[in-house]
């Protein structure tokens, strides 16, 4: 925990104010989870206070909390929260000394492009420069580097400070094409096409005017203080053969990169997935409802896309039927909050998961849902205000996200041992290991 040192010499009042706030915030994040009565207002049914506090502890310690806080499920009353594992009797658990393998392959096509394996079945999802601060982006990318995995730029350009971390950064190409240049496509080991977000399918991206500060607008090369809307489709992709051309385009610009296709979960998500595979995608990234920050309209988050728990098995089984399941990596996102959610998503048929909100929680998000406003985030995460964003120092954030990943890995291994599985790859599609708890 940071301690309060005030050096009055040579610091501006502004710097001192930031320091004071940072120290107090960090003290709060460490303090609240250890209190018996918890804070008066925190979280929601999907992310109850207990889960947020547990996540803060994991971000601090890199281990599941030993305090009795529920770190496995939320209180949504459905989906992942109603699923549990059929663990083996304790006598049949694999020994503690055995370390189950958590790695997954991101290129299963064997097409001569990069063979990329990540040691944990998770990477970070796209959050743009503009939706979050540069500090948050750097913290996420540093954590990805520490953990041997990736994070995604989202659609808001590629800040220069991220370039040293480019081996761990997925360049997103989304419908507004903001900040996408050949150079940023060439940086990337993986290029992600964002067709839609599960939180708001059919609505495109939007960054409201007062988050489009001069610096945000400069990197997107747009007009400052004007709301930015990414169209909901790619105007050059209205059909599957357009998509194929789109993929061929990226494959021409960067001849080594893998291609990920991020789609939301409409009822025909299975066809979208198989179409993406046949067009050359290495990764099909399914983004279900329930994800998204507070900037996504509530009515969209809860009413348009299919929950990811339904979409994963639908796609998994369809790809199996097409006999291409082992040629493509399926990543799932949209309301994945815990190591248990990750394991359940994999048991339903995903290869791995993509995280967004969980990482923001780790660095102080309380789900207050004020994200769309320029200076609405009390913790300096979803802001590009030069002062506010200093409330989340990069190194502190990187360490906490790295710790969270470590805590997840610890639990995933534990889950695998209790299921008698030596590898996370063996868990994929094992719906028989899940039960519905109602």
């Amino acid at each position: 925990m940071a301690e309060l040192h005030i050096d009055l010499s040579g610091k501006s009042a502004e710097e001192l104010i930031v320091e004071k706030h940072v120290a107090n915030l960090h003290a709060g994040f460490a303090h609240w989870p250890r209190q018996d009565d918890g804070p008066p207002a925190l979280g929601d049914a999907r992310w109850p206070a207990e889960l947020i506090l547990a996540t803060w502890l994991m971000a601090e310690d890199g281990r599941p909390p030993g305090t009795g806080l529920n770190y496995k499920t939320g209180a949504s009353g459905g989906g992942f929260d109603k699923l549990d594992f059929n663990f083996l009797p304790e006598a049949d658990w694999l020994p503690d000394m055995l370390e189950p393998d958590l790695s997954i392959k991101l290129n299963k096509r064997g097409d001569g492009r990069r063979e990329i394996e990540i040691p944990i079945p998770i990477y970070g999802g796209g959050m743009s420069y503009g939706s979050v601060s540069e500090q948050v982006m750097r913290a996420r990318a540093t954590a990805a580097k520490n953990s041997g995995t990736f994070t995604s730029t989202g659609e808001g350009g590629y800040p220069a400070s991220l370039v040293p971390l480019k081996d761990h950064i997925i360049t997103q190409v989304a419908t507004g094409m903001f900040g996408v240049r050949e150079e940023t496509i060439k940086y990337a080991p993986i290029v992600e096409f964002k067709y839609a977000q599960g939180a708001k399918p059919g609505l495109g991206g939007h960054l409201l005017g007062d988050k489009a500060t001069s610096t945000v607008a400069a990197i997107r090369e747009s007009v400052p203080w004007v709301s930015l809307f990414s169209p909901f489709p790619f105007h050059s992709v209205y059909s599957v053969e357009d998509h194929r051309k789109h993929v061929d385009w990226i494959r021409t610009v960067n001849t080594a990169a893998l291609v990920s296709v991020k789609v939301s979960t409409p009822t025909d998500v299975d066809m979208v997935a198989v179409g993406s595979y046949f067009a050359g995608a290495h990764i099909v990234h399914l983004d279900g409802s329930y994800g998204g920050t507070g900037a996504a309209p509530e009515i969209a988050k809860k009413n348009i896309a299919m929950p990811i728990e339904f979409a994963i098995p639908k796609v998994h089984r369809y790809l199996e039927g097409e006999e291409v399941r082992d040629e493509v990596t399926v990543m799932a996102s949209g309301g994945v909050r815990t190591a248990y959610d990750i394991a359940k998503a994999i048991a339903l048929g995903a290869d791995g998961c993509v995280l967004g909100t969980a990482e923001l929680i780790a660095i102080g998000c309380t789900r207050c849902s004020n994200c769309e406003r320029g200076r609405g985030c009390p913790f300096g995460l979803t802001t590009t205000d030069p002062l506010l964003s200093q409330l989340m120092p990069t190194e502190w954030g990187a360490e906490r996200i790295t710790n969270l990943y470590a805590a997840y890995a610890f639990q995933l291994k534990d889950i695998l041992r209790k299921l008698g599985l030596k590898s996370i790859r063996e868990l994929r599609g094992r719906r028989d290991l899940l039960r519905y708890t109602d």
Partner: protein, 888 residues
């Protein structure tokens, strides 16, 4: 079938006939438990399409190259062709049988089923005049990639047994129906029953009807469209109208030929590129009229709607097209009042049959004209929002009985060029450039978004090809200037004055109106005689390039034919470089080792013809390697739809120049970040997407979503842009478009303040006519959406008559052109003059008078933008305090 001459809507007897026809189909209703009533399971998929219609019959092999160059638009899971206006002799029937009999083509998918089908659906109901067993190659596996054995196809030339027809009429009270309409309906229902018995409703799929219209044949299978031609040995099969199709289905591991395009109604076959969201709604609309699609694809539903509206309701084609692709928004308000009245009735009645989504239909029809003569028709219709690429073309030569006309409609221009080149190589009545290429403006008051090529047979003399738009207005034929006909004479190298290419071009330009083709050939021979020296080489290249690029009076010579000769000369010249490279010109072709340039200025002539259109062995990857090897002057020749040219070159390419000749493909110059690319032809779709810096010059038109999401750079376009140019562009792109656009120009444009480093588009609204003179278009901008939701940048539109109106803007506003604006755009117009020979002075001349810039150009800029949030006060303060970066 006949075209109804009186308005079908007002005729009550017609209404009764329609009701009788529809109720006669009630017996076709599938069992309620049938999977046919499952409307949620429509297959989706994209496609590549080409259609051609010609006054003379042409063999199918001329579609092979076109289809093969569009293979990326399919995935080998469905291909098909349709042919209308066939050659009787090739089927072993008389002309009379071909035109009078139904051509009942059945696909047999197992060896035992033919006898069963014939016993139930052929012999009891039809008099069979002739049976033609469609030839096929012996071993289907000899065609690479064919995974499913294509069906055996038998064509029966049949007439309905009179007693069966009489019984059918009795049963359904159809006596008042014209004889042909009753026969058509009989055939339709018989085929429907065959399909439900042997294909759709059973688990096993054994036989289905490919086509059953008169003088119309459909063949399709699991494969690519060009595979169909090879497998069924159609290379020499002649027809007036052809359509070819690749399908890209995304669903199902097991595919059946029945799911491939084209789909049939009765006298028409339809192929489709795109998909629509309201398949279920249209299926319901059809079910209410006792029509039940069998193959669960949106394309079949579309052709059933077409057949219903045209054959059953007997609407004129114009009304059918309106029901499919309604005229909306501003375009609707610009229709004449009587059309508005009828169209709004059509829209209200058939809203639920209007395909909602991106689509482009090609329809091949075997129809009857007003005087009962045979009409073979190719129709291309685009959706109202123009979401799919589409291009039309027309070429015509000769007069009187010698006249030969051909029309095309396709997904890509390069496919049309491939077909023309194929034709030209065999048949001197054709040459490799069309007289015209154009796009349809979907759901518009100008052309209605559809064009119809109709071949009228049985008139006096030769069949005649007539081009008309949706409204039935004939489109005037291209200039009557004569096309080149080889006469066997050996060209004699002619002398010409010494000078640089510009001077020689100027000289030739003055001579050409007085020249014959022999003079042209002699001049070219003279030019080609000088290739021994590098000076002679660069003179030839430079002069030919100007002759190809520029528009100038051509006297009695047909421009497209003339330019084809220059194209051919350029091919000979560059082929000569390949044989003997020189200090100034190197050569490279597919498979050759890459050498370093001898000097920074050495031009490398790259023969594109051997390279793949995309992927590892593509031209675009080869260009990347050549640039890595140090080449800075590339001249690409013989491009045939190669995609991604100039992609992946990255930054630091400001010293790189690429010239492109031939017919390049999509995504050219996308991501360009410094280099200059000059296209000496039309461009295709997605050019200069996310372009950052550098320069693109196109001596022709560009296609869909030109400069989508561009950040900067300059572009000069001689002709038009199709839909959605510069959509979502930011930063500082600076563009001159000398023609116009279909619609949605600079939507969500965010390119800062043009007077302070931001971007803009100059839209001149001009075009060269066939006499080589610059003319104003009817309006500089016909669309209803200009600069919509833009927050930055500007449009400078040449609009001296004030034809563009505020109702075309959504968020933009007109302001007077200031001196600073003119100072900004003048250098770009000067460069435009240098590139295209469009003098600034001519642009400022209106009706022969030289006006001031502010009288000619109007500026459109974003209307006042309001910050939306509670932080507005804080934000605006911050905005004032923020340093003004470049471009803002």
């Amino acid at each position: 079938m006949t075209n109804s001459k009186t308005s079908p809507i007002q005729s009550s007897s017609n209404r009764q006939l329609v009701a009788a026809l529809l109720s006669s189909r009630a017996q076709l209703r599938p069992d309620i438990s049938s999977e046919l009533l499952n409307r949620d399971e429509a297959a989706e998929g994209g496609c590549g399409v080409i259609g051609m219609a010609s006054s003379v019959q042409i063999p199918a092999r001329h579609m092979l190259q076109a289809l093969s160059q569009m293979r990326n638009r399919g995935n080998g899971k469905g291909g098909g062709i349709a042919a209308v206006g066939l050659d009787a002799a090739q089927f072993g029937v008389s002309e009379e049988v071909l035109k009078q009999d139904y051509l009942f083509a059945v696909a047999y998918m197992d060896d035992t089923v033919r006898a069963e089908v014939e016993e139930q659906f052929v012999h009891p109901v039809y008099e069979v005049d002739h049976v033609y067993e469609q030839p096929q190659i012996a071993d289907y596996t000899s065609i690479a990639g064919l995974a499913v054995r294509p069906p055996e196809v038998v064509c029966y030339f049949v007439r309905i047994k009179p007693d069966k027809l009489a019984a059918f009429k009795d049963e359904h009270d159809l006596h008042n129906l014209p004889e042909r309409a009753a026969q058509d309906e009989f055939v339709y229902q018989n085929s429907f029953k065959l399909n439900t018995s042997f294909y759709a409703s059973l688990g096993e799929k054994r036989a289905f009807v490919l086509s059953h219209g008169k003088n119309l044949l459909v063949l399709k299978m699991v494969g690519y469209g060009d595979d169909v031609i090879r497998y069924y040995q159609l290379e020499d099969l002649q027809a007036h109208v052809w359509i070819g199709h690749h399908r890209y289905p995304t669903k199902g591991r097991v595919w059946h030929p029945g799911g491939a395009h084209p789909f049939i109604g009765l006298n028409e076959a339809l192929v489709h590129n795109g998909d629509f969201a309201n398949h279920a709604s249209i299926s319901e609309y059809l079910a209410q009229r006792n029509i039940y699609p069998l193959y669960l694809t949106d394309t079949e539903v579309a052709v059933q709607v077409f057949d219903l509206l045209y054959r059953t309701y007997r609407y004129p084609l114009e009304y059918v097209i309106e029901a499919l692709a309604p005229t909306t928004e501003r375009d609707f308000t610009l229709l004449p009042e009587d059309k508005q009245r009828v169209y709004s009735m059509l829209q209200r009645s058939h809203m639920h049959a209007s395909p909602d989504g991106p689509w482009f239909f090609l329809i091949a029809q075997s129809d009857l004209g007003e005087s009962g003569e045979n009409v073979y028709r190719l129709t291309g219709i685009t959706d109202t929002s123009m979401l799919r690429p589409q291009v039309f073309a027309w070429q015509e030569s000769g007069e009187g009985d010698e006249k030969v006309s051909i029309g095309f409609a396709a997904s890509e221009k390069q496919a049309i060029d491939a077909a023309l080149e194929n034709l030209a190589a065999e048949d001197s009545r054709f040459w490799s450039r069309a007289d015209r290429y154009w796009n349809a403006r979907g759901g518009s008051h100008t052309d209605g978004g559809a064009f119809l090529f109709s071949v009228h047979d049985d008139r006096e003399g030769q069949p005649d090809l007539v081009l008309s738009d949706k409204f039935g207005r004939p489109v005037p034929a291209p200039t009557s200037a004569a096309a080149y006909q080889p006469n066997g004479a050996q060209p004699q190298a002619a002398q010409f004055p010494a000078g640089c290419p510009d001077e020689l071009f100027a000289w030739a330009g003055r001579q050409i109106p007085t020249w014959t083709y022999q003079h042209v050939q002699d001049f070219l021979a003279g030019l080609e005689a000088g290739l021994g020296s590098d000076a002679g080489r660069s003179l030839a290249i430079g002069t030919l390039t100007l002759l190809i690029d520029r528009c100038y009076p051509t006297g009695g010579l047909r421009r497209s034919s003339l330019v084809s000769l220059f194209d051919a000369s350029l091919r000979r010249v560059t082929a000569a470089f390949a044989k003997i490279p020189s200090a100034a010109y190197g050569a490279h072709a597919f498979g050759e080792a890459i050498a370093a340039p001898k000097s920074a200025d050495q031009v490398l002539v790259v023969d594109a013809s051997g390279f793949e259109p995309e992927g590892e062995h593509s031209l675009s990857i080869a260009i990347q390697k050549l640039v890595d090897a140090g080449w800075r002057r590339l001249m690409l020749v013989n491009a045939k739809g190669h995609r991604f040219i100039g992609n992946g070159l990255g930054m630091d390419t400001a010293d790189l120049e690429i010239d492109v000749y031939g017919s390049p493909g999509d995504y050219l110059a996308s991501g360009l970040d410094g280099a200059e690319i000059r296209v000496h032809n039309n461009g295709q779709d997605q050019l200069s997407q996310i372009m950052k810096a550098g320069r693109l010059v196109v001596h022709g038109d560009v296609g869909q979503t030109f400069m989508y999401g561009a950040k900067g750079g300059e572009a000069y376009i001689l002709g038009n842009a199709a839909g959605r140019p510069l959509i979502n562009a930011v930063g500082k792109p600076r563009v001159v478009i000398n023609g116009t656009c279909l619609d949605y120009l600079a939507e969500s444009f965010m390119a800062g303040d043009p007077l302070n480093g931001g971007g803009f588009v100059v839209l001149n609204g001009m075009a060269f006519n066939e006499a080589g003179q610059l003319e104003e278009l009817d309006t500089p901008y016909p669309g209803g959406n200009l600069f919509s939701l833009a927050s930055g940048g500007a449009i400078y539109v040449r609009d001296p008559h004030g034809l563009v109106t505020a109702d075309q803007l959504n968020g933009g506003e007109f302001v007077e052109l200031s001196a600073a604006d003119w100072d900004l755009i003048k250098p770009y117009l000067a460069e435009n003059e240098r590139l295209f020979g469009i003098p600034v002075e001519r642009l400022l001349s209106v009706d022969g008078r030289l006006l001031s810039p502010a009288e000619v150009y109007r500026k459109i800029q974003p209307g006042a933008v309001r910050a939306l949030q509670a932080e507005e006060a804080w934000v605006t303060k911050e905005a004032r305090m923020a340093p003004r970066g470049e471009g803002h």
